[in-house]
């Protein structure tokens, strides 16, 4: 079965610090990869996605992620975080195989707190 691991459960950073959140998945075939964000009291929103092509993808609000197939990883990065980035971040995987399914499997989430 597919699974997604997010190694950092809680991360506390000061403003302007750099961010990297880890995400690893277990599936040997073709995958689509996503990062979602949930700001306090709000619904889940898509930050960025990877389907194919350039493994370095850029999303909204200055976030980017790099797909490293050999490591089954899709880590999220931001060079300089802001207080408004305080949120919970979820990595998600959609494994592509022959069936008519597009379900997303989510990681356990990482709570990011940015201190002003």
């Amino acid at each position: 079965a597919q699974s997604v691991s997010q190694h950092n459960h809680h991360v506390i950073l000061s403003e302007a610090a750099s961010l990297e959140l880890g995400c690893n998945y277990s599936y040997g075939g073709t995958v689509n990869l996503f990062w979602y964000v949930q700001y306090p009291g709000q619904h889940l929103q898509l930050l960025l996605k990877y389907f194919s092509g350039d493994p370095l993808v850029k999303g909204i609000k200055g976030f980017e992620a790099e797909f490293i197939k050999s490591k089954f990883s899709f880590n999220l990065r931001k060079p300089s975080v802001q207080w408004s980035d305080t949120a919970e971040y979820f990595c998600a995987v959609n494994a592509i195989w022959g069936g008519a399914t597009n379900k997303l499997i989510f990681g356990t989430g990482t709570l990011l707190a940015v201190q002003p």
Partner: protein, 113 residues
């Protein structure tokens, strides 16, 4: 603005009650999903549906059932609510087969007492 609407934001129910959580989308999406979100566990898929009257079990279907009689509506049913079903329930919809384009509802926080 496209929307996924969940009928209740907060619900409190008693143990043993039958509970209905309703979700409606206005995007003509064929796929709909129910997840539950718990601290430290992320989002776990309960059930999903590709089309009207079709349903598939997710990773944690025990204690739940679903109904999709119309394309825009996907209901989650707790046959006999238990305290371990206290959680945030999220509905989502999407189109296509790529996992892209999920739109989430705002969630229903269910407390079973």
């Amino acid at each position: 603005d496209v929307k996924v609407t969940q009928s209740s934001r907060y619900l409190v129910k008693r143990t043993g009650e039958k509970v209905f959580l309703e979700c409606v989308q206005d995007m003509d999406h064929e796929n709909m999903f129910w997840y539950r979100q718990d601290p430290g566990l992320g989002l776990r898929l309960i059930y999903f549906s590709y089309d009207v009257k079709m349903k598939e079990k997710g990773d944690i279907p025990e204690g739940y059932s679903v109904s999709r009689e119309k394309k825009e509506r996907f209901s989650l049913i707790l046959e006999s609510a238990s305290t371990n079903q206290t959680s945030m329930y999220l509905c989502a919809s999407s189109t296509g087969r790529t996992g892209y384009g999920y739109t989430f509802g705002s969630g229903t926080r269910l407390t079973v007492v």
